[in-house]
Subunit: 336 residues, 2 copies
DNA sequence: CTGAAAGCGCTTACAG
DNA sequence: CTGAAAGCGCTTACAG
């Protein structure tokens, strides 16, 4: 910047003003400065800027060490968040925080301007910690009391309603929900499952439909076991909303071995999964796919709104899953 | 740091020396300084340090905008790289560079100490660009001439040999390779496919086995089509090495519809995939799983070796895929 | 073993 | 509209 100033015959302050558009600069000097920058191939140093302005333009994406639920879509989320940050002149660092101390480590060294919190729990101790540290942050997911916070989340309520709509339109009235359980330990009270169950119970009751609630672990073997007992556990059920993509292959395989046809004997609608995972099944599953890319983008936008001001995004954003047609849903067999 | 120095009655230089262990400090002063840091909850500012030392302790993970091949494992790679960086006192930023200018943008602002390059092509223009910029970097993957570079890559040659070993031990002698093609455009000359084919041809020839070479696009529909014509294209083949995890479900489904049994009529060994993807199939595939976590870790270690010196990691690291038993490989039917 | 001081590359009141 | 100068929070020769 010294060199640019010298070559353009101005002060470094003026160079700074023209680079940042932070103060009016006459067209003539601007031209001289820009020519000098061009000639020298000048790029302003990010660290000098950060120290002087107290803004690093670095955002942290905080992900927990525990296994992610929606694994396949996490990479979309990561890259979408990084791209959005980049488009706004920010950088995104991946921060693997398994405990609270590592969170403090991040916020106390002044490296990041803000934090994006993934896999938010219904009661999440990290939220209070962040508030205490004064670091701007946004949530992917929701706590139990998210009103005062900025968040984006999947609209589980809307997704469940749309799922039931889809199945009812096909003619179903006895519908089940198979989820992966609320888990224990770190995953206890996992928001997506809690909210989906609540919405399912409510919607089914309101519509006066016959509801079944099922759970099994998130792996094919558990899906297989579930398949073996599903007719006992849910007699008369003709359609299943599945929020457990990893159980799907085992479940389908077991149903096939029993001579049951999907979708003719049982329609299956996979939710909060991805088209890619759905396509790994036979038949290819109809799916309400998780809006990972949009969640990543909007989470970053929310955070940058706080940092730069002037943003007009909705601070409480809920994004629907999108219905992607597959071969696993159809009208129930005549006679049901 | 000013405050710490005042409280401990030393200069800020001395605080710096004890924080960094960069110069000898007497036990007594060290104790005083540490007590003061404790009391004030001092954490040295990362930006000030970066500016003074000309080292940001930030690493960039450069991933191309084009779709990733080994999608499911990318998240493991990302998080493993981030964790390793963190363990060494570094941060990892995700940098979505779709073109060369965005690469220059990254290296010219002085934000990062080094770059990790993903999805390296056989001829990769980014390598020369990075060399020109003087930025330390390491590759995940290999160019055609990688001797002068630091890289970690999957040991495709070893993985293919081990795959053939596994099948030969089961009694197979007519073995095919089904890959996703070398692609066109940005993916042309994609190293993994090129190397796997070369190794396969060589190994099969050396061992005097009957080899079949097949390719189809990376999706279930293409796998299904391949299944429909596979007996014509590869008559007598009893085992298949599959480097195309997304084609697997379609292929298996089509084989089943034809009344062919996996593994009895055809053994299938999925390579450079993951146990998770393998488990999405029925039967669960035997798989040589990609060492994503190790690649992420070792790539970062290589880069930090360059930056901090004194590292003793092998600059040309090749990591084998690991055999994970499944239900898709077995001896050929008697009579073959 | 410890300190005074320069300097890393910028931004930002303040003054004109 | 432009500039001189202080300062962001550290590190690092240099001197003692």
């Amino acid at each position: 910047m010294q060199d640019v100033a010298r070559l353009a015959n101005v002060s470094i302050a003026t160079v700074s003003f023209t680079v940042n558009n932070s103060k009016p600069v006459s067209p003539a000097t601007r031209a001289r400065v820009e020519a000098a920058m061009q000639e020298l191939g000048f790029r302003r140093n990010a660290v000098g800027r950060a120290l002087a302005s107290k803004r690093t333009h670095i955002l942290a994406l905080l992900y927990p060490a525990l296994q992610h639920r929606f694994r396949g879509t996490v990479v979309n989320f990561f890259t979408s968040a990084a791209r959005t940050a980049s488009e706004h002149g920010y950088n995104l660092v991946l921060w693997p925080a398994s405990n609270d101390d590592e969170l403090d480590e991040l916020t106390s060294t002044g490296l990041v301007d803000g934090v994006l919190l993934m896999e938010v729990q219904v009661e999440d101790p990290r939220v209070e910690r962040l508030q205490k540290s004064g670091t701007p942050f946004a949530l992917i997911g929701r706590t139990a009391e998210p009103d005062a916070l900025d968040f984006v989340d999947i609209d589980f309520e809307g997704t469940v309603a749309a799922s039931i709509d889809h199945l009812v339109e096909l003619g179903h009235s006895a519908i089940g929900l198979l989820d992966g359980g609320v888990g224990s330990g770190a995953l206890r009270g996992y928001g997506p499952v809690v909210r989906t169950r609540g919405a399912f119970d409510r919607e089914m009751e309101e519509r006066g439909l016959m509801a079944f609630r099922l759970s099994c672990d998130e792996n094919p073997a558990a899906g297989r076991e579930m398949g073996a007992r599903i007719r006992d556990e849910a007699p008369g059920m003709t359609a299943l909303i599945l929020m457990n993509e990893h159980a799907a292959p085992g479940l389908l395989s077991e149903l096939r071995h029993q001579g049951l046809s999907v979708p003719d004997d049982l329609s299956i609608l996979s939710i909060a999964s991805s088209k890619e995972m759905a396509a790994m099944n036979d038949p290819e599953l109809t799916v309400m796919s998780a809006p990972s890319i949009e969640l990543g983008r909007r989470g970053v936008e929310l955070l940058i709104d706080q940092l730069d001001g002037g943003g007009d995004h909705d601070r409480h954003a809920l994004v629907m899953c999108a219905l992607e047609p597959g071969a696993s849903t159809a009208p129930p067999r005549a006679g049901h």
